[in-house]
Structures are given as structure tokens and as C-alpha cells.
Symmetry: D2
Subunit: 278 residues, 4 copies
């Protein structure tokens, strides 16, 4: 039976890679439905995402590709199917609600395994959608104690990505390392402007004419991980910081959902502290 796969390859750049890889597809009689490449000239690194269809065995295809590309190559042959995600949130409903509505609509191409929150504010909303909700208060706990409870909860589930839908807590290095390149966060500013707490208040005080939001992978450098998507809206002197916050929520949720779609469709390569997005 014919099937389809997303083939993602990244490796050090070398002459003839497009030829060698497309030869593998050609020799096996596979169709290329979509193909994009990019060479990062600074790091001399090659990226390729090809959607192929035809008759193939995933492992065989993987191994054959491995035989024609440099040894350092990371090769993924992915048959499209719903991925699994876990959501972390705090009190705000806009980013979470946007994802829940898409999920309910079948538009997300992912299954939400659960929502974990450090407040119980969002419980009603999440339960409306029949999604498991875990309230793990941080009150009276050290950061490490709270995280170990969260991790115990998380580790009940298998998941591809963890989405911080306005999860207003700083993560420890241990937590971040445990889920490397799997955590997608939305930050409520156009990074690197206004790193840290209350970016809308910072923006208001600086008197900027544009505010924005940034979706990024989480690394151990606060608000410094690889950026996936950003967008902005205009503001003016009539906006107090609460108005900026309110207007900003629309950007936050759209940017997060856009980044999530890119990630779930296997369109994002991490390239050092940057991303390549096809």
C-alpha cells in the first residue's frame, strides 16, 4: 500500500547531497511531493525536508539515506500521524483556550494528553473539553519540590512536545534538560526585547510603538532559546500597560498556535540557537 513520509535530514554540508538523496528516492520509485533545502553557510550545515510518497519501509529508507550522507547526519523518516502534547499553564486562558478549541475541532493534528497548572483557575475551562487537568500548586514548595511533582505527573504520559501556554514559572536546568528540544514556550514580547518579568510593563515604560510575542524552544538561558515564530501589533500613547497586555494576548495565542503547527508538522529544525523553518 502506498504511503507518505516526511524525510528530515540535517548534516554537515557536502557536494552532491541533493543529488545523492534524490537518487535514493528516484531509485526506489518514490514521488517527491514537496522538497525544501537550505545550507547554513556560516556553520556549513545542510538541511532538507522532503515529503515522499510511494512504497517503502521506513527503516530501510532511513538506512539507505544514512549510507549516502555524512556520518554526522540526523535523519528522520516520519509517517504523518497525530502527535501527543502536554500543556502547562498558570491562570490565563487565551493561549490555552485557543489550543483547546483547535483540538476540539480536529484541526490541531495532535492529541492533548493533559493540562497541568500551578493554579486551579483554568480547571473549569479544561474540563469543558474533557481533557485531564492536574492542579499542582507551588505554594509552600521550593522550585525543585514543585518541579518534581510536575515531572511525576508528566512522566505518566508519552508525548512529543510540551507546550507552555503562559506557564508563568521559571524552569530549572534539570527540568529543561529532561525534555530537551521538546518544550515550546510563548513569551509576551518580541524577544530579545523585554526579557524576564512583566514585559508589557517594560514596554509601556519604554514607550515603544510596537509590541509582540515570541514562540521559542526552551533552553537553560531564560528567554534565549531558538525562536520559532514572532509577530507584532502597533500600540500608541493611549495604551496603558494593561491595555498592552490585553491587546498582546491575541498576538501571543496566534504566535503560539502558529509555532505549534510548524513543530507538529515537522517543519522546524533546530540549528544551534536558531531555527530553520520550511
Amino acid at each position: 500500500m502506498e504511503k507518505r513520509a516526511r524525510v528530515l535530514i540535517d548534516c554537515e554540508d557536502a557536494k552532491g547531497l541533493v543529488y545523492q538523496i534524490s537518487k535514493v528516492f528516484y531509485d526506489r520509485g518514490l514521488n517527491i511531493d514537496n522538497n525544501r533545502e537550505f545550507v547554513d553557510k556560516e556553520y556549513k550545515r545542510f538541511f532538507m525536508r522532503t515529503v515522499v510518497s510511494g512504497h517503502f519501509d521506513v527503516e530501510e529508507l532511513h538506512d539507505e539515506l544514512a549510507s549516502v550522507v555524512p556520518a554526522d547526519a540526523r535523519i528522520r523518516v516520519i509517517e504523518p500521524s497525530d502527535k501527543k502534547i502536554i500543556l502547562l499553564a498558570t491562570k490565563e486562558s487565551h493561549a490555552l483556550g485557543d489550543i483547546l478549541v483547535r483540538h476540539a475541532d480536529g484541526e490541531l493534528d495532535a492529541t492533548i494528553e493533559c493540562v497541568i497548572a500551578n493554579h486551579n483557575t483554568l480547571e473549569t475551562l479544561v474540563k469543558r473539553f474533557d481533557i485531564p487537568f492536574f492542579y499542582i500548586s507551588a505554594e509552600g514548595l521550593s522550585r525543585e519540590e514543585h518541579e518534581s511533582k510536575v515531572m511525576a505527573c508528566i512522566d505518566q504520559f508519552k508525548f512529543d512536545y510540551m507546550v507552555l501556554a503562559k506557564y508563568m514559572r521559571i524552569l530549572t536546568p534539570a527540568f529543561v534538560e529532561a525534555y530537551e528540544k521538546k518544550i515550546v514556550n510563548i513569551h509576551h514580547s518580541f524577544l530579545p526585547a523585554f526579557i524576564g518579568a512583566n514585559p508589557y510593563k517594560q514596554a509601556y515604560e519604554r514607550g515603544v510603538k510596537i509590541i509582540g510575542a515570541t514562540a521559542h524552544f526552551v533552553t537553560n538561558d531564560l528567554d534565549e532559546g531558538p525562536i520559532i515564530a514572532q509577530d507584532v501589533i502597533p500600540v500608541n500613547h493611549r495604551f496603558e500597560w494593561k491595555d498592552m497586555q490585553k491587546a498582546g494576548r491575541d498576538v501571543e495565542k496566534i504566535v503560539l498556535s502558529r509555532a505549534l503547527a510548524l513543530v507538529l508538522h515537522d517543519r522546524v529544525f533546530v540549528n544551534g540557537n536558531k531555527t530553520v523553518i520550511f
Copy 2:
């Protein structure tokens, strides 16, 4: 001596095209510096733009590529060099001035052969830049008579593209056909909204909250040619139509210059009445 070329191929889609084409490059030992492809699934049409470097003869490379792609293929092997352009204008200086400044700066990657205008308003500006200026008044002439004078002027020059930098006259089919796919126009609305005369007045009367500009190839359907670039800016009830016109000029000139750069860098394929842009 090593050289570089942009290879542009468009043809009916077929299995193995990427493989066949990249094999040609590989067998000749050429480097691929940049490569982008696209398949229009509706029209089953394949587009590829590859920047290659190495040792090759342009005609030989062309012929070898021709031997591996479908017979209907249009293949161009272009060694980057300044292209030649002709500018047509009427009275407004913003779009023309933007191109003149870029040209003077060496940023345009093209040589301006001349400016032709149906008014003499812009003569002083053009002469400041030591560019030949031809004033061909349309007064008392039929459209055909005026155009035949303009064409006589144009035909003294060799050029790759003719740029209508706010040339406020409708062209006859004969004129358009004489320079097919070579005429780039800037229209002062986000087409297809506000086709025809005075789009800002139309926009004002409709009460839109966004105005824009569209750069497109000229065809015989007024304001209906393949779109190359578009952009918009917000407006509000405080804008009278003259304010929209004034604000719109910035969008017009940037969109035209952006489209011109795309065209001059051989990044634009015409695909029916649409464009593919790499």
C-alpha cells in the same frame, strides 16, 4: 576560471526531475549554492531555481539540462550581471526617485538606460542623476500616436525590463504585446481591490481600514497581470483621500523596488496569471 550562474527551469512535472537535474550538476562537479523548487499541483508544473558555481560553459550546461527534462521545458542559465531597464513615469517623483537613489548607490544591480515621461515635471529630478530623460507629451495625440512615439524612443535601447514608476496611462494591447512579460507596473491599491482610476479615492469612499500597493507584470487585462509583490498600511477615519494618497506613496515605492529586485535577481517565474517567487 570558476563562475556562477542562476539556472531557472520550468516544465511540466515529472517523476525524478530533482534527481535528473541535480545529476547534471553533480556529474559536472558543480556546487549548488542555493536551490529552490516548487510544484504547482493544479497545473502539474515544476519550477526550479538553482545557483551553481564551478567550471561550465553556459550553452553546454543548457543543452545538457534540456536533454533530461520534458520537451516543453523553459531553461535559462543566467550569469549574474547588471541588467538594463527603462523607466516610464508621469509626474510623481516618489517611485522614480527611490529607484534613482538606489541606482546612484550601485544597489540596483541594473543600469537605467533612460526615463520616458508624458509630462516634463520630472525632468529636473532625472537630470540630477545624469540619466537621459525623454519628454513625450500625449497632448493632442491619439493613444496609438503617442505610443508609437514612445516605442520609437524605447526601441533605441536594449533592455531587460520596462518599469512603470507611476506611469498614469493605459497601454494598448499592441504595446503590451510588444514587450510581453517585460513590463512591471506599480498599482496604488491592494489588487484586486480598486482597479482603475484613483484607487485612493475609491478606498476613501469605501471606508477601508487598510490601503496598499501591488507590483505586477502588465498584461492586456487592466490591473489583472501576475502579481509580484504587495504590501499594506493601516488607515483610519482621519485620513481624507489625499492623506491616503500621501501615506500610500511610501508603500508604492517600497513594493515597486522590492518587486524590481526580485525580477532583476531572476527570482520570479510567471505561472499562468500568477507568479512563483524564490
Copy 3:
């Protein structure tokens, strides 16, 4: 007890209006918390929206204002409070879901009285939020028959605005007149481009590089009512029309929610076939 009101005045322009109106506020010892005016010079029409606080009787203030402005003036003194809205939808969940989440969050400054749909697709979603849902199929009914059923349902409720959250049916003049200036619609294009059915398909076929959405009051001219808000996003040749539709949904829902907030906060004046928005 001190209270607050939004005072909205529109009338033919006359000398001294700002003075006369601000004198009323001053003489009564009211604070002006916010004030915006606009004069439409073409129509010689004056618009003013002032937020005042202090001690006043709504009717007295109204009458006193009426005594100092031209006889044609429309004066509204509105004490802020939740307005009531009714939603009409068809099958798509994005615009409706966005409003439901805001409502559940208490962010909407309005109460949703009910959702009426001509398909039952959205029933589950609406019921998740404990909002009354009425499924009124149009199958086998003339437009008039269906509308009379819808109107019978609507007329059970008191409401300030009716929101068409992707209600994919054309309304009759009788329906529109029954709820004049009360119906807010979201159209899935940057009007006036792509009026009518399937604007994304039209946009795809035209090959535009930007798509958008328009929220407007409904009048009897299809897609021609006063525009409240518009926004756009870039697209390119890789977008098939279904991709445009998918990407466009985010713009649609944000533009509709933005327009709804403007309307609910009494920031929108209808000025002929245009709007003045403070």
C-alpha cells in the same frame, strides 16, 4: 454616588461644539476621563465620545446636552455594563470558539444569550460552555421560511448586537432591516476584494500575496456595509486555497473579536457607509 458614562454625540458640525459640550460637563462638575472628537469635513459632521465621571442623572445630562447641540444630534449617555449578544454560525468553530473562550474568561464585557446555527456541527462546542444552542436547519426551506424561524428564535431574546461568526447564509433585506446597525459580520477577505462566495478560492486564483479579513456592519448590499476592522497576512505561491483558508481563520477570528470589542465598548460611530472609531 459617583458614576461613569460614555457620552456619544454625532451631529452636523457647528462652531463652538467642543466648547458648548465641555461647558455642560464643566458646569455639572464632571471629570472628563477621556475625550475624542472628529469632524468629517466632506459631510460636515461632528463626532464626539467622552467618558465622564461624577454625579449626574443620565436623562438630565442627555437633555442638557441636547439643548446645546444642533437639532439633528444623536446623543447617547451610556453607563458601562455588560451588553447582550446573539451569535449566528454555520459549521466553522474558530470565530465562534474565540468568542466563547473570551466570554468564559469574563473578558468579553457582554453576555452571550444564545447561539443559533443552520447546522448542528457546533452544538457540542457551544454546550461545553453552557450556552443555549438552537439548531435551525435550512433544509427544504425557502430563504424566507428559514429566516422567519430564525427570527422567531431571536425574538425571544433581548440583545444589543447580533454577531455573524461565519454564518454562511445571505440575509434578506427584511431580516437586515429588522436589526439595522445591530448585525456585525466577518467576511473572509480584505473587502472590497473578493466579494461573495469562497473568497479564498478567488484569492488563490488571482495569485495575491496578501489575504485578509473584514468585520463590518451588515447592510442590504452584500459585503458592502460599513467596515469596522480589517487585517491581513502574507501568503505565497506555496499556499493552495485550502492553506489560505486555514491561515485566514486566525485573521478572521482576531478581526471579528477586535471589532466586537470596539462595538461593545461604544467606540464605533456609523457615518454613512463608513465608520468613525475612537
Copy 4:
């Protein structure tokens, strides 16, 4: 003879200001052609810009207004006329060229008194427009020595604003203080992101998906002065930093010209380290 003036008032907020000020206009029989107010609630500061027309003496009007507003008020009654500006630049032509073309077109509402540059690269361009050009090299000079030469040149001219059209030198506090609130700069990032040198390289290294430009008044805190205008454009992984720089030039020049128009039309109030723009 009837004339027109822009009246700008900023003062501590107080009850009845709109009434008191509009009463002055009313009692003198002046028309209000345009009026905008704003109250900064944090700083309790009132801003008003009114365009009036009729018969009046500028000084008398000023004094009468002064008699009805708080003692700290700054009142300006400005009869519109071309302002005078001085341009400082280094080597890049885009921002300077944009202003020169607008000036030549009569669109600027200002007279360019001269251009001063620390390199002679731009001499040809400036002379094309018959504007005095002063080349004051900084080579071998301390910052103070160079600035004293520049100031000697500047001080030959009367001017309203000094525009740094990509003047790539840091100014000393003495220089900035000498021309307080008169210096408008364009910074090539969306401040406060990427303060300091080579923001495009910083943006490239951070992997942002949006770049921008910021026009601001210059103060002694580098890149920290009150922001007048900002705008952004999308970028992606295909952009090397030189590509960002090239694309960014269009934003820089448009943002600078937009800010300059606001300033020249007396639409900008400085409010602490922020601006109020009408």
C-alpha cells in the same frame, strides 16, 4: 486676514481644561479645524493639539491661553510654515536620499539647510540636489575635537531639527545637551532590542524572525531616547546579516521619514522618556 495655527499645550492635568481652552477659542470666534487631547494618568499630565483658524494675534492668543491653564503649562502657537533642518550622515545613502527626494518634490514641508558627513561618500548625491555639503572627517581627531568642528559648522545655521540619517557616531553629552529635543535619530533595530553597534548582526545571531527600525529623539542614554516611530519586516533563516541589513534599509528610511513628518507637523509631544503623538 484669516490665518491658521497649531496650538500645542501640555501641562499638569486639571478639571475643566478642555472647557477653559475651548472657551478661549470660542470667545475669539476661532474655528477648531482639528482637536486631539490626551491625559497621561500615570503622570497626571494633559496634552492638547488644536488646529484653529480665524483672526487672531499669535502672542495675544498665547497669553490668553496661559491665563486659563496651570502655571507649568508649555504653550506653543505655531503658524504652519516650512521648518529648517540639518542632516547628519556617514556613508549610507538610503535614508538621506529618501529625504532629499521628498525635499526636491516639495513634499517635506521643510528646508534642508545643509548636510554634514564624516565621510565624503555622499557628497556627489547631495550636490546633485544643490544642497550645501560639509565633509568633516573624524580621522585623527578625538570625539570632542570632531564634534567641536561639527558644531562650528552647525552653528552657522538656524534650524528647528537636526536629523541623523544614519550618522554612525556616538554623540557626547555636551553635544546632545546643546541641541536638546532637537535631534532625531534612526536606529536600525526595533528598540530596545539590539542597542549599540551592528544590530543586524546581533539580530542574525539571535535568529529573530522580525527585524525593524526605530526613530527617536536623542538623549544621553544611547538608543534610549523617546521613541517617535517604529516599524518591522519579517525575515527568515535564509537571511544572512547582510541580507537583513539590505532589507532593513527600506524600513529605516520609511520610519525616519514618517517620524520627521510627525515632528515637522508639530504632532509630537515629549512626555518624560516617551512621546504623545497626535
